[in-house]
Amino acid sequence: MRRNSELSIRLRRLLGALKFPLISVAVGLLVGGAIIAFSGHNGWEGVKGLLVGGFGSMHAVTTTLNRATPIIFAGLSSALAWGSGYASMGISGQMILGALTSSVVAVACPGPAPLVAAVSLIAGMAAGMLYALLAAWISARFEASLLIITLMLNYIADNSASYLTTYTFRDPTAADRLAVQTQKITGAILPRLFSKYTVHWGFVLAVVFVLIMLFITRRTSFGYRARMSGLNPRFAEYGGVDSLKTMYLMMLLSGAMAGLGGAAEALGTRFRYVDKMITSPGYAWSGITASLMSSNHPLGVLLSSIFLAGLTTGGASIELTMNTPSEITSIIQGVLTMLVTAKFAVGWFRRRRSQRKGVSRDV
């Protein structure tokens, strides 16, 4: 009996946590449908096409999981930084450097393939960490806004990676002379899970890190401290949390996840660094959206990342079948993000309504 009620409380809490993301998803899809309808197609068919294209078949699901891999890493990275209160926009730059570093190391490093793959993943992770450390250091040492610094560093990373790929590490054997990409990684790759589908071991790695994150944030004092300094920095400081140390640590971990995400994408999907391979699909922003949708909960990050990746796969599919631009995905994602952050909105409406009724109630 007692057990039963405990279960129902947990269930209700879960439903409560899912309410806002689900409403936001529904409204986001509605807006997406309206825009598809505006462009002269059947809106209902469009939304159906988005979902079926993203999740409707084994091929769609595995493509979605493949696409979700870098987004999960970006989402974890964002959950680490934003969840502890640091407005870092630097995930994109860290992923770029992670991807470039790992693909250069994977080609240059001799040795047995699995070992080289591991070394290059770690190298990518380290690159992301260093870049995050740079941003954290500039921001802490010179009292500059972390937000602006990370945004600027993203542009610098993108341009530098583009420069290095064009002039230093360019693949001389490429059939397409215009392709700006590094040499193909032959041995040290993340192999596919099923030979027919694109989803690779990077996805398993991402799930492992989700579980590690879950353990750290919910079961260790370190995770507790970090969460506290995110919720209320002054209280955390009063309680003896060294906020500067926490910031460096969280930024380092966030950079590690981002760098690893870039590396996994390079080693598992592209097998090389291709110019703009991180920025043009907008992995970093999708990751931030995923962590917001789930209030930085690791399992939520996993699910929302897969959902967002599914929208992207679906968007690409309806671009082919219905000739509607795939950018519909980023519009839906934007609407969704805004609604998720405005969850206080519901509280506001409720308060207003109760004020009108003359009932004062704390919400």
């Binding site: 825009i35 462009s39 002269g40 407005a87 926009m89 500039i138 010179f142 009292e143 500059a144 806004s145 937000l147 602006i148 610094i149 945004l151 600027m152 560093l153 542009y155 610098i156 341009n159 530098s160 583009s162 420069y163 064009t166 002039y167 907008g282 922003w285 931030i288 959206t289 917001l292 631009p325 950018e327 519909i328 995905t329 980023s330 519009i331 994602q333 934007g334 609407v335 993000t337 805004m338 952050t341 405005a342 206080f344 909105a345 506001w348």
Partner: protein, 307 residues
């Protein structure tokens, strides 16, 4: 080595690069004064640049295009206001969401209207009219190619100074930034002030967007703003949200962009020169703090010596 023609070309390019930045950093400055954190200037500019080109294409009227651009930008500003002023959502997230959404939306609509996703330009599009100068010589070279909207940016900076520091509205606005509680107890309707400020910032970003798509070139490119909204935030930081300080900071960043564009023609590679404005922003923010710290130290030393 030093060539007066080269110099005046750089000055004219600096002024042209500075104008949109100045509009945006003024927008950031007034928003900061009114305690609204506006990071959606990128999205506002993009909306304006796009809708002005659309209206320009269908009507061939510069004025209607200008109006459409400003209206589009103000509409985006109002959406931002709804979310962050009324609904108290996180301004950083809503702003970033608007920015990424506008990239998607403008690309989507560009494909629907014009059937292309990359660059759109058409011979029938009309650019903003260039101001004819009554004098010639070096001074005219320095001001070459400026439209009246470019001049408007500098006028807007002076106007912002007058409104913020010499008028009652400005005092009230600044009071909100200094202490919202005090402002509220004085009877200032804070939310209305914030909405109005956002509307004005939307109009300013709208003018910036029109300059990007119809100023020195008349076209729309995917992601036409390329981070100018963020650089404007840095300029606002450096200029301490003061209209004249912001003017100086925008001139500096405009100069960096102009230099970046000029060095493209030399042996330096495009990716390096494209990074110059962003690297300059980081360096400027660092140096700003270093100098401020040194000044603080000197002040303390002076006080101690005077004793």
């Amino acid at each position: 080595m030093f060539n007066i023609g080269y110099f005046s070309a750089i000055v004219s390019s600096t002024l042209r690069m500075c104008a949109p930045l100045l509009y945006c950093s003024l927008a950031a400055a007034i928003c900061q004064k009114a305690q609204v954190f506006n990071i959606a200037m990128e999205g506002m500019m993009m909306a304006s640049a796009f809708f002005s080109i659309v209206v320009n294409y269908f009507t061939n009227s510069v004025w209607l295009a200008l109006l459409a651009g400003v209206a589009g930008s103000v509409a985006v500003a109002m959406i931002l206001g709804l979310f962050i002023v009324k609904l108290k959502a996180s301004p950083v997230i809503v702003g970033m969401a608007i920015n990424t959404m506008m990239v998607g939306l403008t690309t989507y609509l560009m494909y629907i209207f014009f059937g292309t996703k990359g660059v759109f330009t058409h011979p029938s599009l009309v650019g903003l009219p260039k101001v004819a100068l009554p004098f010639g010589g070096v001074a005219a070279d320095m001001l070459a190619g400026l439209t009246f909207v470019d001049y408007g940016a500098f006028a807007a900076s002076a106007l912002a100074f007058v409104v913020l520091y010499r008028m009652t509205v400005g005092y009230r606005l600044r009071a909100i930034g200094i202490s919202p509680e005090a402002a509220r107890s004085m009877g200032t309707p804070i939310e209305s002030y914030q909405f109005a400020t956002l509307a004005v910032s939307g109009a300013l970003c709208g003018l910036a967007g029109v300059l990007l798509s119809m100023g020195s070139v008349t076209l729309f490119i995917q992601n036409i703003t390329s981070g100018r909204g963020y650089i404007a935030m840095a300029a606002n930081n450096l200029g301490k949200s003061h209209p004249l300080g912001v003017l100086a900071a925008s001139l500096f960043f405009g100069c960096c962009q102009a230099l970046g564009n000029f060095l493209q023609n030399t042996s330096l590679k495009g990716q390096i020169t494209a990074s110059i404005p962003y690297a300059a922003t980081v360096l400027a923010l660092i140096l700003f703090t270093v100098r401020r710290r040194a000044a603080r130290k000197n002040k303390i030393r002076k006080v101690l010596n005077d004793r």
